[in-house]
């Protein structure tokens, strides 16, 4: 990997800033779509930003008996997500951080964030914290095989698991994107991303019903600025993963490894449109879905594992040397 140009650094910084700034809008947009489809007025796209601002001004309250794990977990979740945003080819291909972590590393960072929040849930020592953590970690454990197999399937054509290599390889050979392996991997990854970001049908982000909540139970003791970080981080996670899926399977518009100013701008617009469309589709589909019973989720994830396995074997057998 050659030295990246100044514009590549700029593009990476823009990726981080764009994710930071756009994540609340993505969440707000999805809520708004859902509200309109359900016949409600909705709070508007900017509502999550207003919530963040309000929560950041509230008093910092530390629950008795919690340790530094509880205090640091939101920052770690947000930090890992920002790092993923910096590594991923969202706007341009040549992120200077691309060689530091491939897709396996990105998955590892994602799980590091999950683990930080589960530990925080346990740290509170409440019934809800433990319940949410237990459920979250069970889902995470079963999601991991599917993610890694999907990574495997994606890395076969480009002979590399580094994100820039995968994306540029599929941008050069668009025909590969409609191959059975790629399509199966897409479906598998989509299921996995819905599970990891706590969307329907795995988890309902807008519920606080004790029998069903997973993510919300884990973070129940957070208030004020720390809650703001948790919510911001979960929005960023969704945004980054949607952006990543978009560019892995629809790599058009992304700026090259050595970008021009125009290329970076086109890349920014392209990723914004792609994420907006994906988020819109996700929100629309969610309206028509009911949450799965918790013990039916393993079946869904086993199904996605099977799809990922088929994706890999399909790539092996249909591989063009």
């Amino acid at each position: 990997m050659s030295e990246s140009s100044a514009l590549a650094y700029l593009a990476t910084a823009m990726q981080v800033l764009a994710v930071l700034g756009a994540a609340p809008f993505v969440v707000g947009g999805m809520r708004q779509i859902r509200a309109r489809l359900e016949g409600r007025a909705g709070g508007g796209i900017g509502q999550p930003w207003r919530d963040l601002r309000k929560q950041l001004r509230k008093q910092q309250i530390t629950p008795n008996g919690t340790t530094i794990v509880f205090a640091l977990a939101p920052a770690i979740v947000a930090g890992t997500t920002l790092l993923i945003a910096a590594i991923s080819p969202l706007i341009a291909l040549g992120s200077p951080l691309d060689p530091t972590a491939d897709l396996f590393g990105v998955v590892g960072l994602l799980f590091l964030g999950t683990v930080a929040l589960t530990l925080a849930g346990l740290d509170t020592g409440t019934a809800f914290g433990g319940m949410g953590s237990s459920r979250e970690i069970t889902i995470a454990a079963m999601v991991e095989p599917t993610i890694l197999l999907a990574v495997f399937a994606l890395s076969i054509p480009g002979h590399s698991a580094n994100l820039a290599a995968i994306v540029s390889s599929s941008a050069d050979n668009p025909g590969r994107l409609v191959s059975p392996g790629s399509l199966l991997a897409f479906v598998a990854l989509t299921i996995v991303v819905t599970a990891e970001t706590g969307r329907l049908p795995v988890d309902n982000p807008s519920t606080h019903l004790e029998l069903t909540m997973i993510h919300e139970a884990m973070v129940l003791e957070y208030t004020g600025p720390r809650l703001a970080l948790v919510e911001w981080a979960s929005g960023m996670r969704l945004t980054v993963l949607l952006g990543l899926i978009a560019n892995l399977f629809l790599p058009w518009g992304i700026a090259a490894a050595d970008p021009s100013v125009l290329g970076v701008l086109i890349g920014l617009v392209a990723i914004a449109i792609k994420v907006a469309i994906l988020a819109g589709v996700l929100a629309t589909v969610e309206v028509f879905l009911a949450k799965l019973r918790y013990f039916r989720i393993p079946e869904l994830l086993a199904g996605s594992f099977l799809l990922a396995l088929l994706a890999v074997t399909a790539s092996y057998f249909f591989a063009t040397p």
Binding site: G65, G105, L119, L122, G125, G130, S134, P225, L229
Partner: protein, 671 residues
């Protein structure tokens, strides 16, 4: 809801009753000598091992020490690697043992055996001939058995000791048979001679030796189905001994497989690699599944050893198989992964067992359902266990990440020249590794989150106090090693390169992965940098913390407040999740494999059957493999012994009759 849970295993109790005979000062001196000697032997091992890795292979023959054959030592890179790893583990354990032996009032006998055990372990990979190897192996087995039995006044220890003794001796018998056959076919006692004549050994003999060694060495490494001694012996042994056994002794099984099957007899046929891969994958998944539902902290760690040795064996099998399919570069990647996994496992498992030992010494508890709240009472130990747990979960910033990353890379970059076997074996292996990692995360989150965070679940956990300085120093050394493997594997790169060169049969001569600041793979556009990930994550977290300062000047002063008690007056320890409840979803999902025995008993009030007075929930986690495979064997042996026993009821007349009949038979046969 009134929930009562019973732990399936009795928790360790008071120190041995034979104490009080020694003055405290004398006991202190003895602990110091024993621990210091252990650490010193370990240091010698580390130095000798490192010099063996980098220097030319040398031999040392002491012909007078053993009649007829003498004792032969060989200092090569492969043996040196294992000697150095064992030595490093022993240094940390030795220093730790100084404090632990005093705090737990060790008797004189285990204090005496501990350095001996370390010395025996160092001799195993240094042995250069079949006789010396077997001698050192048996010495190691006997010393470890004596140490496992150090708290023999408890019935659980005696049972574990019996289990361990039988299994380790059966394993020894298999190894003995294999090595005797090998040395007969290879025309000599020394490994060098056998290796020189290895080409002439018939394929039938090779197969027999391979199967016997995989069985014998596999039982030492804790591979399925011969793993059953691990979850019994490791929890019952004193913690420094558990650390030595789990971080160093199980490696000897792996060493045996590498030395005999890959180095001397390799390159083996395709099915050797496949066999190792299957054993490895099954062990890894089964081990981690048991670990994720275990409630005994040390049993959890013991199952995690089976898991990690399974991953190592999977890597060895991958290396062997890819090398037999003519992909030496990828094979070298898999082999590097195996070596790195051995090192990282040694470091984090030492640390984990030592931290568990601190907890045990402070609270007398191993049961996670009764622990909790240690983060405030034992902050240093908690940090140490956190580092170990992060390493064991295979996440970035953890010691195990780099090894697992390399293993996954070697699995996904295997050549796919329309080879059906590879096309099926590799994705399934990736799935197995991924499931292992996922469940490993769950197991470690449970061990750390339930055991160390939250509120104490018993009075003993509430009264815990921090471990003494020597114990913390020992743990600190292991934590440093964990950090090195987590962020700077570059430091062990040159050593691994030398070891690989000594293993030509698994692609050792090919360009393996380059462990620089960036980990680069040969011929593949893939890279990763654990150090830079750590650094940039630190920057990102600091950035987030700075962002969270936004609006801070509008905030009232920070306070701390009680947590929400779900509407009750105040929160108490019984409201929180226990280890059992934390793992319950996993237990339900993997019900078919784990086969737990759960029992819910509802007692109603006498007045009405609609009102519940009490609900009792019991769950017992037995090892299904053990129950299905071992119980019938043990029962058959017992029946057979009962039958044989009838022949000697104690009557001297009867015995004389046996003698006479025997003599007659001999006479008839001889005539």
């Amino acid at each position: 809801m009134n929930t009562a849970q019973t732990a399936p295993y009795d928790s360790p109790s008071v120190p041995a009753p034979d104490q009080g005979l020694r003055s405290p000062r004398r006991a202190q001196a003895q602990a110091f000598v024993s621990g210091g000697l252990t650490a010193a032997i370990g240091a010698v091992g580390l130095v000798l091992g490192l010099s063996a890795i980098f220097a030319q292979p040398r031999q040392l023959v002491i012909s007078w020490l053993l009649p007829l054959v003498g004792v032969r030592f060989e200092f090569g890179p492969l043996g040196g690697f294992f000697v150095a790893a064992t030595g490093a583990v022993s240094i940390a354990v030795g220093i730790y043992a100084i404090g632990y032996a005093q705090r737990e009032h060790w008797a004189r006998f285990p204090l005496f055996i501990l350095p001996l055990f370390v010395a025996a372990m160092l001799l195993v990979p240094a042995a250069g001939s079949v006789t010396s190897f077997l001698l050192a192996w048996e010495l190691m087995a006997a010393a470890s058995l004596a140490l496992v039995l150090s708290e023999h006044h408890r019935a659980a220890v005696r049972s574990a000791g019996a289990f361990y003794a039988v299994m380790t001796q059966l394993g020894f018998a298999a190894i003995l048979l294999a090595l005797v056959v090998l040395s007969a076919a290879g025309g000599g006692d020394s490994f060098a001679t056998i290796a020189a004549h290895a080409g002439g050994i018939s394929s039938g003999t090779r197969t027999a030796v391979f199967l016997l060694t995989v069985m014998g060495f596999g039982s030492k490494a804790g591979l399925l189905p011969l793993h059953a001694w691990l979850p019994r012996a490791h929890p019952e042994a004193p913690s420094p001994v558990s650390a030595l056994m789990s971080a160093a002794m199980v490696n000897m099984g792996i060493y045996g497989i590498i030395r005999i099957d890959l180095q001397i007899l390799g390159p083996g046929p395709h099915w050797w690699g496949l066999t190792l891969m299957i054993f490895g994958a099954v062990s890894a998944v089964f081990g981690v599944l048991q670990a994720s539902v275990a409630t005994d902290l040390k049993r959890l760690l013991a199952y995690s050893t089976t898991e990690n040795m399974g991953l190592v064996t999977l890597a060895l099998g991958t290396a062997s198989m890819l090398s037999s399919y003519g992909a030496p570069q990828v094979a070298a990647m898999a082999m590097t992964a195996a070596l790195l996994l051995i090192l990282s496992h040694a470091s984090f498992k030492t640390l984990a067992f030592l931290a568990a030992g601190s907890v045990l010494a402070a609270t007398g508890l191993r049961d996670l359902d009764k622990l909790g709240g240690l983060a405030r009472r034992m902050p240093a130990t908690t940090t140490m266990f956190g580092i170990a747990a992060l390493g064991a979960s295979g996440l970035p910033l953890g010691a195990g990440f780099v090894g697992e990353w390399l293993l996954l890379q070697s699995l996904i970059h295997s050549p796919h020249a329309n080879n059906t076997l590879l096309a099926l074996a590799m994705p399934l292996s990736v799935g197995a590794v991924a499931l292992t990692t996922g469940l490993g995360i769950a197991a470690m989150v449970k061990a750390f989150g339930v055991g160390f965070l939250a509120r104490p679940r018993s009075a003993a956990a509430e009264a815990a106090r921090e471990a003494p300085a020597s114990m913390l120093t020992g743990m600190g050394l292991a934590a440093v090693a964990c950090t090195v493997f987590a962020v700077a594997p570059i430091l062990v790169g040159p050593a691994l390169k030398h070891v690989l060169t000594a293993l030509p049969t698994v692609g050792g001569q090919a360009a393996g992965p380059a462990l620089g600041a960036y980990l680069r793979l040969p011929g593949i556009a893939g890279s990763m940098s654990p150090g830079l990930i750590a650094l940039s994550l630190l920057v990102a977290v600091l950035l987030v913390l700075a962002l969270a300062r936004w609006g801070a000047r509008h905030r009232p002063a920070a306070v701390s407040a009680p947590v929400w008690a779900c509407g009750a007056d105040s929160i108490n320890a019984k409201m929180q999740y226990t280890a059992t409840s934390f793992a319950e979803p996993l237990q339900r999902v993997f019900d078919n494999i784990l086969q737990p025995e759960t029992d819910v008993e509802v007692t109603h009030f006498a007045e009405s059957q609609y009102l519940v007075e009490k609900v009792t929930f019991r769950t017992q986690m037995a090892d299904p493999v053990e129950q299905r495979l071992y119980t019938p064997v043990v029962r058959a042996v017992t029946t057979w012994s009962q039958w044989v026993r009838r022949a000697h009821p104690g009557s001297v007349h009867l015995y004389l009759a046996y003698g006479a009949i025997g003599l007659l038979i001999v006479l008839v046969v001889v005539r």
